[in-house]
Symmetry: C2
Subunit: 374 residues, 2 copies
Amino acid sequence: MTHVDGLARCGVLETPHGVVHTPAFMPVGTAGTVKGILHRDLHELGAEIMLANTYHLMLRPGDGRIARAGGLHRFMGWPAPILTDSGGYQVYSLRTRRTIDEDGVDFRSHLDGSRQRLTPERATEIQARLGSDIAMSFDECTPYPVTRDEARRSMELTARWARRSRKRFLALRDSPDPAMVTNPGQLQFGIVQGSTFADLRQESAQKIRDVGFEAYAIGGLSVGETTDELYETAAVTASWLPKDRPRYLMGVGTPANLVEMVARGVDMFDCVLPTRNGRNGQLFTRTGTINVKGARYAEDDRPPDPGCRCYTCRHFSRAYLRHLFVAREMTAATLNSLHNLHFYLDTMKRIGEAIVLGTFETFRQAFQKALSRR
Amino acid sequence: MTHVDGLARCGVLETPHGVVHTPAFMPVGTAGTVKGILHRDLHELGAEIMLANTYHLMLRPGDGRIARAGGLHRFMGWPAPILTDSGGYQVYSLRTRRTIDEDGVDFRSHLDGSRQRLTPERATEIQARLGSDIAMSFDECTPYPVTRDEARRSMELTARWARRSRKRFLALRDSPDPAMVTNPGQLQFGIVQGSTFADLRQESAQKIRDVGFEAYAIGGLSVGETTDELYETAAVTASWLPKDRPRYLMGVGTPANLVEMVARGVDMFDCVLPTRNGRNGQLFTRTGTINVKGARYAEDDRPPDPGCRCYTCRHFSRAYLRHLFVAREMTAATLNSLHNLHFYLDTMKRIGEAIVLGTFETFRQAFQKALSRR
C-alpha cells in the first residue's frame, strides 16, 4: 500500500497487462464487452481493469476458441488488465439448474440446456486458457439467509475447493503448457465465505490465507443481506486479510457502499449497477439517483448531474435522455451507462485523492451527506 | 460548385450551422439519434450533416416540445447541420394507415394509433419549429410500379404541394415569429417526382424549379425499381436541375449506388443501410459485403475489412464481432454501424478527392471492380 488513512488504503497492483491503482472499480464485461460501452470509452473514463465472467465465456464463445485466438485480451481487443471470476457465483444463480457435490457442480447451460460441469480444477484451467490477469479460486457462494451449520458446511467446502484451485493453478504455473496457459503471469485470488457469521468469516479467512494466494476476495455478499450486515461482515473479513494485499469485495455495490467499504479497508469492487441501472434509465448523481424515464424530465433541459464532467452531462439534457429512453434508442443505454461509469470511476478517483491527502473521513461524510440531499 | 469532373461535382453548401462539403452522405438520425452511434463518433467519422425524420419527431417527443427546448440542434446536442425530411415518405410507408386528398394526408400514428394530419403547410411549420438547416417540401412519394396516368396525377399533386410548402415557408421567413421559427436561416429544398417516366421527371423538375427553392431533391426512388431504372431516372432528373445547386437523391443507397449517382451529377445522399445492416451483422467493405453472423468467422482473427482505418477494424476481429452479434450485445450493432458509416463517409471523401484531382472516372472503375472481387 502506498497511502493509508484510517482503514482506507491506496495501493498499486501489478499485473501482466499493467498496473491497477486501488481503490479500484472494475466495470463488468460479462461476455467480453461492457454492455453498450466501447473499450475506448472505458479507457477514457479511466477504467484500468475490466471483469469478465468465466461462466458466460466458457459457454460462448468457449474458452478453447478464446485460447486459440491468443487469449481473452487479444480476442476482446482489450490490452489492459482483466479479472475473471471463477463461475461460482453464476452457477449459484442458476439454483434449479445445478447440483453441488464434493467434487464440483453439475449445471445446465442457460443458453441451450446442455449439461456442464465445473470443478475447482476445471474453473482454474478455463481461466488459465482465457489468460486473464487475475483468476479467482472456485468457491461456493453461500446463499442468504442460511443456518449457521449450513454456512459452516459451505465455508469448509469453499476452503477445500480453494486448496484444489490453488494446487491446479500452481501445477499449471510450474509446467506451463502453451495450449493450457495463455498468460503465464496470471495471479490468483482466494475467496472468503462464511455468510454473515463473524467467527466463520474469521475461520474462512484463516483457511484461505493458509492456502496462499496473491490476494484475497470477500465473497457471498450482496446476496440479500441488510446493508448493516454487508458493512459489518465485509469489515470483519477485511480485518482478517493481509494488510499488504488488495482486498476485493465481489459484486458490491452502490456508490454509498463503495465509500463505506473503502472506509473499512476494502480496495477493489465490481458491480453491474452502473450499466444495468443505466439501461433502465437510472442515473447516479452526487445528490442521489434520478430516473430519466420520469415524465417530469420531459422538458428538463438541465444536464443529468449539473457539475458532472462526463460526455453525457456535458452535451445532453434530461429531456433528450428521456426522449431516447422512451423511443427505445440504444444510445439511451449507452449515454446513461457512460455517465454512471464515469460517476463510479470518478468516485474511486476522488476517494483515492482524499486518502493520499489524509482527508478521507471528511470526503466520506461530505459524500454521504450530499447523497441524502435529494 | 468548386470542382467538376465529367458530370461529377464538388461543392460547398452553406447552412446556418456550418458548411457541408458535397458530395455528402448524411447519416440517418430518425428520432434525433443515429441508432447506436454517439454524436462524437459521427463528428470523428467526418459526418458534417445528419438527417432527422419529421414524422417521428412530430409524434415523439413532439415539435412543440423540441421548439421549447430551443430547436432540434439544442435538443439533440448536435451543433452541426441537420436536414429534416417532410414526413411525406414515412406517411407513404404507412400505406394502410393513411388517406390522401388534395389538401394533405390523414394518418394514424404507428406509436399509439392516434389520428394525425400532415399538409404542405403543416409539414413546413413543423420543420420551422424543429429549426433544421434544410427543410424539405411536402411531397407524395409515388409508389412503384405505377401507371403513367397515376404517376402524372401524383407528380402534379406534388407540384401543387410544393407551391404551398414554399408559400408557407416564405411567409414564415418574411415575418419570423420566434414561437414558429426556430432557425431563421433555414433553407428549403423542393422534391422532384415522376416515377420512372423520363418525360414526367422532366416536367416535374420544371414545375418544382418554377416554384423556386434553395436546392432540389430527387424523390420517389429506392422504392422497388430496378438498379437500371434508378440510375437512368436519377440521371435524367439531375440533368434538369440547376447546375449551381446541390442535388439530393433521397434514400439511396449502396456504396456502388453512391459512386454511380455521383457520376451522374448527384451531390447528396441519405440512407439507413450502414446502420440498419450493421445491426443485422452486415459489413460493407471495399471488396463487397460480409455478414459477421456467419459461422465461418467464428475463428477468423482478421479485421472485418483489412486495410480499413476505422476504430472497429483497427481493434477487433471478425471472430469477436461475430461473438458480440451472437451474444446479442449492443456493442455489436455499434461497432458494425461505426465501420459501415466510416466506409460510407470515407467513400464520399475519396470520391471528392478524385473529383478535385480530375481522376473520378479512374476511381469509379477501380471502386466498382474491387466490389465485385468477393
